[in-house]
Symmetry: C2
Subunit: 316 residues, 2 copies
């Protein structure tokens, strides 16, 4: 296999495989393992206080000499502090999401940082391009966690983006195997970002009970809900059922917010309360049935990619 | 290109491209054009009275000597009459949907009819297999028209099915180009069923105003709604906005049914009332921007498929 996509060149990585910078999951252990395996690891700043992020950056630097980056949700309350740490620590790759790419892109690029923005529609991809990003992540409806109101799927978003935009596209949502990786590249992606697959890794900082829940999850066990607040894909558990019951009463936004409360994601994903916490995971968790070391995940995905390439030769 | 999938053999067709048997769209002209082009055309019995179906079968037979079939929604009220016509007319290919595959599969197979059932989850695929179907259509969340409550997308449904089932899979939902066709095959499909792409064909019996609306539709312009009745993906128009307004009042099922009324699909798709009718179309309509003859659609899709195969060689 030869990977010479624009994404490989942009980030200086061997394989076009990026690990999503997920809250409560993507700490220094996961990130350095992914980067050491030849992919791109991303720290998930969204669940870190500024000093914690700094600590994770410094630990990651010790654990790998390969490129890695930071995912920054632009709605983060202490965003200035986070950005200052990123610049001070000479981070060279930032993925931004959940916010306007215009606000920080040119500032980051002035500091020699490559900026990739997460989008879920053609409209927002064009805005990101205008803001000057180096690449975009195209995230489909099947993705875990927070998601868009358009509900456009990976299978349709990729070709629609490819027709409208020339900057490199990283596919996200529904990818946990080498065949999905190849399919995403057939549809126009130059790399893939995997989230759910890396939640079920030994190195992820997620609670073991959450990881176990992920490998038990089957087709149909996740659902995109809380659309009136911010749409989020969750595993159906007791908390999810409470949401569905509340919906039957035609709740106000305040009532939904009250039920959601605070720190539900931490409770579920980091503290392991798999019934009362939010368990953010993608539809493709139905395909994931083992917790594996990152190295093994890479080996498996690359082998499947190669097998799929081979299989395609039958049509030549 | 060589196509020697099990689906090609099962139906005796040249290309593994099937045209969805869509209500108000799939009459004899479209079906015979698709079969003559080397694919498999399917009459959409769901919007035909029994005598109308008979007429369309007889006309299709006159227009093509190639294999074609009939799509039968199993909840059709006059189902016995429909099945009788299918047997009397010696139809050899039936696609069933929206109902229990156990009811008719063995009866149809006894009459030498090949049966394919439409599913949207692993659970229902296993039920269809148990009922003895020859193949399944795997329909993703991005599909137009009626859809499932699981909301599993094409990109995730295909690999999860492939892992759990050995009978041949036809991918549906999100496919309107040769690259999507190849991607679906990478993910485990042995053929594709295209709906939206054939709505925007010269031969479709849909109203020209509906076809024009389809080619104007962009990414984000469709939405899966009326989930309390039967989930359906529609183009956002005035009728859709009325549904959304009604939802704000926390309506009963009866109130939703009253708003829906009768014959909304016919009004929109066949009579061309693009504001007050239901316009059932898939997310991939955002990629479709021309009304073309079926022959040209085949030529285009096959060329794109070949280009995508070629593109994949860069990874060898």
């Amino acid at each position: 296999m030869k990977f010479n996509t624009r994404i490989n060149k942009l980030f200086g990585i061997e394989y076009p495989i990026i690990q999503g910078g997920m809250i409560w999951v993507s700490g220094h252990k996961l990130v350095s393992a992914v980067s050491n395996a030849g992919g791109l690891g991303l720290l998930g700043a969204g669940s870190m206080y500024p000093d914690i992020l700094k600590e994770h950056i410094q630990k990651t630097k010790k654990e790998t000499s390969k490129p890695f980056g930071v995912n920054v949700p632009l709605l983060y309350p202490n965003i200035e502090e986070i950005i200052k740490i990123i610049v001070d620590e000479k981070i060279s790759i930032v993925f931004t999401s959940a916010g306007n790419p215009k606000t920080w892109t040119s500032f980051l690029r002035k500091h020699n940082i490559k900026v990739t923005h997460v989008v879920s529609s053609v409209k927002f991809a064009l805005k990101a391009k205008e803001a000057g990003v180096d690449a975009i992540v195209a995230e489909g409806f099947e993705s875990g966690g927070h998601n868009s109101r358009e509900e456009t799927t990976t299978f349709t978003l990729l070709p629609m983006l490819k027709e409208n935009i020339s900057i490199p596209i990283i596919a996200a949502g529904g990818i946990a195997s080498g065949s999905s990786m190849l399919a995403a590249m057939v549809l126009g992606a130059e790399a893939v970002q995997m989230g759910s697959r890396f939640v079920a890794s030994e190195e992820a900082s997620a609670h073991i009970k959450f990881k176990q829940k992920v490998i038990e999850t089957q087709d149909g066990d996740t659902y995109l809900t809380l659309k009136e607040l911010a749409p989020v894909r969750l595993i159906k558990n007791d908390f999810f059922n409470q949401i569905q019951d509340l919906y039957k009463t035609c709740p106000t936004q305040e009532e939904l917010l009250t039920l959601l409360g605070r720190a539900r994601a931490k409770k579920g994903m980091f503290e392991g309360d798999t019934e009362q916490g939010e368990l953010e995971i993608g539809q493709i968790s139905g395909l994931i049935d083992e917790i594996l070391p990152v190295k093994v995940i890479f080996k498996k995905v690359l082998k499947e990619f190669n097998n799929s390439l081979e299989y395609m030769r039958r049509f030549d």
